[in-house]
Subunit: 214 residues, 2 copies
């Protein structure tokens, strides 16, 4: 078998990929959510996200506006942190945080018999208002965000990106987020991941960056 | 709708997830590759990997043996680097490398009109023999590894993990790796990712670590 490589310049690979994705989508995308859905599929090659990504009203616009106002992003894994385009985030005035490797978080999690992700969300909430929570791994992080919100301890989140992956309490934790009266983007079902969480943040960052230039 | 969370202790979540995966698999897995396939599905909630993951003869055993001899791992993204369990890798005597953010790599890529991933593989190959290449993003990294190998410039790789995701030359680049007479684990098709590359390295690390203790 002869394996033929397409000749595409490095700078054109992303645009070509997006063309292919658009051409294979079975139904047109809501223009408001298009940038996020396209980037989710681009990152995963999984067209399921065209169906499973669920947006609260105006979630994308609200996320983009928050970033334009310098909102910071908190992740549940170092991998999601690593995938976020910090250059663009810093340019807009935001920071990226992750508390999972904090020794205090590890000790508190051990003492209380909860996950480090649970404790790290409490640290995040203490940072204050208008944060973007990007959760790609731990359903327990989403459950704790939901509980904090119910207890009045989650001050005005700008956006919750709820896209953990897995088999235990993942579907349920995402459904809890969908009951919240705050902006969210959730990948319903079992699928998701740290790569997806980062990709969604980046889609919002690139839209914000483009809006700023225009 | 009442959303009910299962009560599972943090330490038991992974074992419970693996039970669920095993119970839903349609065909039994080859015991030799089972640890890698289970962890791939655990990381992605995508059962396609039971079909698409392709192993050269003895690839898992060879990867595990290399890690037990202190092999180092090179990734194509900081995200894959971030997802690898460095604690276990270091304990076995290995290091994790990534050259994508090296300013020299960026400059050379620009000058030559190639991707940074291409140049970063040349830096990696210069490290010497018995490396594990964990490629979850850039098909151009796989293409360059293939070319270097054909030119006799890729000194005895311990294992190539070829699992990039995407739409342009991804399928083809993986097929090139499957023609190589060296140990490989490839996710055929478009799907893959940095998270998957890290998960496969971790599956090998945990197997190596277990073998060492026994």
């Amino acid at each position: 078998m002869k394996i033929e490589l397409a000749r595409v310049a490095p700078a054109d690979i992303e645009a070509r990929s997006m063309e292919i994705i658009r051409s294979e989508l079975k139904t047109p995308l809501d223009p408001e959510n298009e940038a996020v859905i396209l980037r989710a599929i681009h990152t995963t090659a999984d067209f399921d996200y065209a169906e499973t990504l669920t947006f609260s009203p105006g979630a994308v616009r609200k996320g983009v506006e928050a970033l334009l106002h310098g909102a910071s992003v908190v992740t549940d894994t170092t991998m999601a942190l690593s995938g976020i385009n910090k250059r663009v985030l810093h340019k807009l005035g935001g920071e990226a945080y992750n508390f999972i490797a904090d020794p205090e978080v590890a000790q508190a999690a051990k003492d209380r018999g909860v996950t480090r992700a649970t404790v790290s969300m409490e640290h995040a909430a203490a940072l204050g208002k208008h944060l973007i929570y990007a959760i790609g791994n731990a359903p327990t992080a989403l459950v704790r965000l939901y509980e904090l919100w119910r207890e009045g301890q989650l001050p005005e989140p700008a956006l919750i990106i709820g896209v953990p992956v897995g088999f235990v309490n993942v579907v349920e934790a995402k459904e809890l987020i969908c009951t919240m009266d705050c902006p969210y983007i959730v990948a319903r079902g079992r699928k998701g991941g740290s790569n997806l969480a980062a990709a969604i943040v980046n889609a919002l960052l690139y839209t914000a960056s483009k809006n700023e230039r225009e």
